[in-house]
């Protein structure tokens, strides 16, 4: 059996990209995004992409670079307010956009990965989000039907992983990555630290390797912070 471990992002993407495909990309804002894979996808020039991701990066970083290169045809997201180019492309009709409430987006991906084609949620009832969708009453409350979501490719980012594809995320960089890992026909994980098999705590693996087809340690991680926010250090008590 061929191993899952790849040399770098370009090798990991070999043979899986095609024009018009749907790609899920993990991350919340710039936190926990597969930045090496995004850069490598830009290099390939693959186009007419539908990208499922909570946000669309910022101008010049994250998924924002695929907007600049004109490779994205449609975004499925919950919030894109950090990106001026996004707004410009959308308002001029060059970019399609489907807004999903964040929890509905997370659950659609979870359901898709779990083989569940649709579910009912209270979120969005009586709003634009429910227009054209089936609604049904359960126990006296109205719910809207949402579809499970899968993708041709899921690209996720974890902190640590092994050659089996077992993944461990770190702090709030987990976000959408675990569900997306389950919902890709092909799933590629980029990690900060590739560790020998047997060194991960088997009781604390967040994504079991069955979901991961290819894995590589990223060449470098910029891990840019969107909003550095700090507090002043307490004044030293005066003597």
């Amino acid at each position: 059996m061929a191993g899952k471990t790849q040399k770098d992002a370009a090798e990991a993407l070999a043979g899986v990209l095609f024009d018009g495909m749907t790609i899920m990309a993990g991350g919340f804002g710039l936190c926990g995004i597969p930045e090496n894979l995004i850069a490598a996808i830009r290099e390939t020039g693959v186009k007419n992409l539908t990208v499922v991701s909570n946000n669309c990066g910022i101008d010049g970083f994250g998924l924002g670079v695929l907007l600049e290169s004109g490779q994205i045809k449609k975004m499925i997201s919950s919030y894109v307010g950090e990106n001026k180019l996004f707004e410009k492309l959308y308002l001029s009709g060059e970019l399609e956009l489907e807004f999903n409430p964040q929890g509905t987006l997370a659950e659609r991906i979870r359901a898709g990965g779990a083989g569940i084609p649709a579910f009912f949620t209270k979120t969005g009832v009586g709003t634009l989000v429910a227009e054209g969708k089936e609604t049904r009453e359960f126990d006296g409350e109205l719910y809207v039907m949402e579809r499970g979501l899968t993708a041709d490719l899921a690209i996720v980012k974890a902190h640590t992983g092994d050659a089996e594809g077992n993944l461990v995320y770190r702090k709030t960089a987990r976000n959408f990555n675990p569900m997306m890992a389950t919902a890709g026909k092909v799933t590629i994980a980029e990690i900060e630290h590739l560790v020998p098999i047997g060194s991960l705590d088997k009781d604390n693996i967040h994504t079991p390797g069955i979901y991961v087809d290819r894995i590589f340690q990223g060449a470098s991680f910029e891990k840019r912070i969107e909003r550095v926010t700090t507090r002043p250090r307490e004044e030293k008590a005066s003597a």
Binding site: F28, G29, L30, C31, G32, N54, S77, S78, Y79, V80, G81, E82, F86, E87, Y90, L91, L97, F99, P101, Q102, G103, T104, L105, A106, E107, I109, R110, T121, K122, T123, G124, V125, G126, T127, L128, V129, H159, Y169, R170, K171, T172, A173, R174, N175, F176, N177, P178, M179, H206, K223, R224, I225, E226, R227, V228, T229, T230, R231, P232, R233
Partner: protein, 213 residues
């Protein structure tokens, strides 16, 4: 004299109770964390996947893997936990969060909230707001009473696309406090900001309301 942003946040903090799990939105709601009464145990949820949000880090101690839903760097507490976005919204939709405090563009007397979109103008998205107002037990909106233009924001019916229909329990503005009770009972003014008269608030409100000061 209307209430300042901090006075509105302090009024919102009076909705907190010991043991509550709470989600605070961006803007004035974030300031509510500064007014948690001493000795009260409140756990802050961040919908990107964390319970037990700590304060902002000291300069030089920021961690790119540790942010809140407003994408600001934060810190963890000894009691914190991390989880996926699906788990985060399961606890929101599942009714485990006691209180959501969030901003608004428009609120109606029926308890409708609009806070995510101005058609043809602002393209940002709803983020987690629709899930929060649909799933959290008590929803408190904090917003200015009128637009910069002076146009009222507490309306008979919202003109902007809704975030949720019949979802607002309490509205705190810079002029006063209104009980809305998700539109199940008539809209009621329950407090006036210091120096604000009933006539002033009536003139700046389109919605009909009862007075229960």
């Amino acid at each position: 004299m209307a209430w300042t942003r901090d006075e509105m946040a302090a009024r919102a903090a009076s909705e907190l109770r010991d043991g509550f799990y709470v989600n605070l939105g961006i803007g004035i709601p974030t300031l509510v964390a500064n007014y948690i009464p001493a000795g009260m145990h409140v756990t802050l949820q961040s919908e990107n996947g964390m319970l037990g949000m700590g304060p902002f880090p000291y300069e030089g101690e920021e961690d790119a893997d540790l942010i809140n839903a407003g994408k600001q760097t934060i810190t963890e507490l000894d009691s914190s936990s991390y989880f996926s976005s699906a788990d985060s919204f399961a606890m929101i939709r599942g009714g485990r969060i006691a209180l959501s405090i969030l901003g608004g563009m428009q609120v109606s007397e029926k308890g409708d909230l609009a806070n995510w979109m101005v058609p043809g103008k602002v393209v940002k998205g709803m983020g987690g707001a629709m899930d929060l107002v649909a799933g959290v037990k008590r929803v408190v909106v904090v917003m200015d009473h009128v637009e910069k233009s002076g146009a009222p924001k507490l309306l008979k019916a919202c003109t902007l696309p809704l975030t949720g229909a019949g979802v607002v329990d309490l509205l705190i503005t810079d002029l006063g406090v209104f009980e809305i009770n998700r539109g199940k009972s008539p809209l009621k003014l329950t407090a006036l900001a210091s120096g604000v008269t009933l006539d002033e608030i009536k003139a700046k409100t389109e919605a009909e309301f009862e007075v229960g000061l």
